[in-house]
Amino acid sequence: MTVSEQGLIVPGSGKFDLLEYLKPRPGNHPPLDSPGYKSTGLRHPKQPLVLLPQRLTEVTGPLLGDELITMQDADLTTQHAGEPQGQRIIVFGQVRDSGGRPVPDTLVEIWQTNAAGRYRHSREHHPAPLDPNFDGVGRAITDQGGRYRFITIQPGSYPWGNHHNAWRPAHIHFSLFGRAFTQRLVTQMYFPGDPLLPYDPIYNSVTDDKAKLRMVSEFSMDDTQPEWALGYRFDIVLRGRRQSVFEEAHP
């Protein structure tokens, strides 16, 4: 412990180096102001963002472990007495950073509609049936290889008020922490070949076509289980770190 010039007691105030997380490439993330998605209009900052150097608070982050998972809820089809309606699917993948490092022990949270395109939520009024056997929420922790796996039901499409005849493509919401505050990500997983994708202003808010495809899961026959469920792979890439001098010399 040392005392700074201002009389503050600061632990470990000597010189040290911190990890640095790489900036996303332009166009990788959607712009906060995206006129096609009307609600962005009053909800995006208008003043220029101020650069926040990555220091201790930014390169660390909550390491939320099993304590928050009071029960195993990576299987969304067994949370009630009966089985939910709809097509059973396995959604799995790897969480890694842009340098290819798996992100182990990180919390993955998901929420989605039921097979009919209805969320279990008090403010949801889409006239499609609720399913008494499906809540549409799940949680998992990645394993040492950064892998996660959910068993769920193919979600449905639903109308929303953004514009005339607006329908969201089927999707599953994902929330991830990674290892650092800089890596926090909330995204949506889409399904390959969904005919609504070209019409969706949220999906199309991402301007880089290759980046956009990162949000579309991949059907996997190899991971489809006979007589039981279809497999969809959804790998998730979080911000990677700048390589240290040592790593660059020994790739």
Partner: protein
């Protein structure tokens, strides 16, 4: 060569099915000695409350430590091991949120400067395609705030948007305005 990232998408209107958990707003249990409640309202560009937002906070312990392997200062004292440091609170019908926590300690920057006590904040909502990041600083830290390198980098007239306002015993108010005259300072991380 680095891979493209999975793009961010909006948290949407229905995240409250999953994300909030009962102890989310309590970084420390209510009644913890020294606990401070930070509350405030999230506003859109028309000055209307945002009732479907999510506020997350991340911070050091009162000793200025993180129980995290990437904090290069080494293992934390035992007393800090149980400090979660993370808060999560949805906004209510009137756009208000609340976090109960302990004031973090100041932090070294690694190159000789000192950051004043602060919380990093992520704001999520329907209509936000990516989170907006801001910071909460403390009004009783005038000396530390005056030399905080992040506050110093913010135009003088906007700095006040980052400093919570005293609102009573162990009570601070921190409103978040997405746009307008007093738009909160948001950061490019």
């Amino acid at each position: 060569m680095s891979e493209l990232l999975t793009p961010s998408q909006t948290v949407g209107p229905y995240f409250s099915m999953r994300l909030p958990w009962p102890e989310g707003p309590y970084v420390v249990p209510a009644g913890t000695p020294g606990a401070v409640t930070i509350y405030g309202r999230l506003y859109d560009g028309a000055g209307a409350a945002i009732p479907d937002g999510l506020i997350e906070t991340w911070q050091a312990s009162p000793d200025g430590r993180f129980a995290h392997p990437d904090d290069p200062r080494g293992p934390v004292p035992d007393g800090d091991l149980g400090f979660r440091g993370f808060g999560r609170a949805p906004t209510g019908h009137d756009g208000t949120y609340k976090i109960v926590t302990l004031k973090p300690g100041p932090l070294p920057t690694g190159d000789g400067a000192t950051e004043a006590p602060h919380l990093d904040v992520s704001v999520f909502a329907r209509g936000m395609l990516d989170r907006s990041v801001t910071r909460i600083y403390f009004p009783d830290e005038e000396a530390a705030n005056a030399v905080d390198p992040v506050l110093e980098s913010v135009p003088q007239r906007r700095r006040a948007t980052l400093i919570a306002v005293p609102a009573g015993d162990n009570l601070l108010r921190f409103d978040i305005r997405m746009q307008g005259e007093d738009e909160t300072v948001f950061f490019d991380l």
